[in-house]
């Protein structure tokens, strides 16, 4: 039951990693990917292209689209059951 300090530290790091994975990815990896896509697209529009208005419109639109796609996925999964 007693663990050496390195083994305990490794266990804690692994546990924390698993916690972060469950929290951010979990059973909705599409939402995690969507956040990365949103950051990529808005970076291109705002930071690289200086298209502020386009970035302002695209950001919430992509978030709404990601939510709709995730819901569609959940509906399909529910129908299969």
């Amino acid at each position: 039951m007693n663990q050496s300090p390195p083994a305990l530290a490794l266990r804690l790091v692994k546990g924390f990693g698993r916690f972060c994975w469950d929290l951010l990815v979990g059973d909705t990896p599409e939402l995690f990917v969507a956040a990365l896509v949103i950051i990529g697209v808005v970076t291109l529009l705002s930071v690289v292209g200086h298209f502020n208005t386009a970035a302002m419109i695209v950001l919430p639109l992509l978030a709404i689209s990601a939510l709709a796609i995730s819901l569609r996925r959940a509906q399909r999964a529910a129908r299969r059951k």
Binding site: L31, A35, S46, A55, L59, A63, Q75
Partner: protein, 255 residues
């Protein structure tokens, strides 16, 4: 009128998000603590809860000041992305529950399950220790998400103290109501609260992801109020669409 004009919309959204999220998580934690208290005694249940709350508060106190030192643009981009993910996850779950595609969070069933689990324990195990650990884990794990929200929302808005107070107020409120009614709060409209938190988190996530990527929002903080309205309407429409596409499930839920 004075309140509406003197309190920035950012503060209202921040306090609302942290307070509601904390209420939702603490209602879930309270169910576990009550199950432990009723089956294994109150002393260990309350000790476990108190230690968990102290550890959670220590996490806020130790990581909060460090986060405030991170450059604001980078902090807001990371926090914005995390809040977008959290917010979309909360909204997705709440919409599926409101549409009948996912079972509502049933505090009564969770309470019964936890009580049965604790009663089935072998008498040879140290029951006080088990009760302490179960209560600690329940409060700590439910509270960890609140700590992340307090740290991210509070430090990015430079209002860590206010965020911590909002979370503490929710813990006290749920605790007092729990003591008064002395049972799990199954009547709390948890899904509606979850949906509201989802809207607020996606709002902050959108706003700060944009700010972190140098998007200039018209009217500054005023856009937060506009996003709350937009996302609330979209959520309502998505519930209607999902319900319409799954009429049998919705009818079963209504029956």
């Amino acid at each position: 009128m004075f309140f509406a004009s003197s309190v920035p919309s950012g503060v209202v959204v921040l306090v609302g998000a942290v307070f509601l999220a904390s209420c939702v998580e603490m209602v879930e934690a309270l169910t576990i603590v009550l199950a432990v208290g009723h089956t294994r005694g109150w002393r260990a249940a309350l000790q476990g809860s108190a230690v968990a709350i102290v550890v959670l508060a220590a996490l806020v106190a130790s990581f909060g000041p460090a986060l405030v030192r991170v450059p604001l643009n980078e902090l807001r981009l990371i926090v914005g992305a995390v809040l977008l993910i959290f917010g979309m996850q909360w909204l997705r779950k709440a919409i599926l529950r409101a549409s009948g595609l996912k079972a509502l969070h049933d505090e009564d069933a969770i309470y019964r399950e936890k009580v049965a689990e604790l009663k089935a324990l072998d008498a040879s195990v140290n029951l006080d220790r088990v009760a302490f650990v179960v209560a600690f884990k329940g409060v700590f794990l439910e509270g960890l998400e609140v700590v992340i929200l307090v740290l991210t929302l509070g430090s990015s808005a430079h209002r860590l103290g206010l965020a911590a107070v909002a979370a503490a107020a929710a813990v006290v409120l749920v605790g007092v109501v729990g003591v008064v009614v002395a049972k799990q709060l199954s009547k709390v409209p948890e899904n509606a609260m979850k949906m509201s938190v989802g809207v607020l988190l996606v709002t902050y996530g959108t706003f700060w992801t944009g700010e972190g990527l140098k998007v200039k929002w018209p009217g500054g903080d005023v856009m937060l109020a506009a996003f709350v309205g937009i996302y609330a309407v979209v959520t309502w429409l998505l519930v209607l669409v999902v319900r319409r596409e799954n009429p049998q499930v919705s009818a079963e839920v209504a029956a």
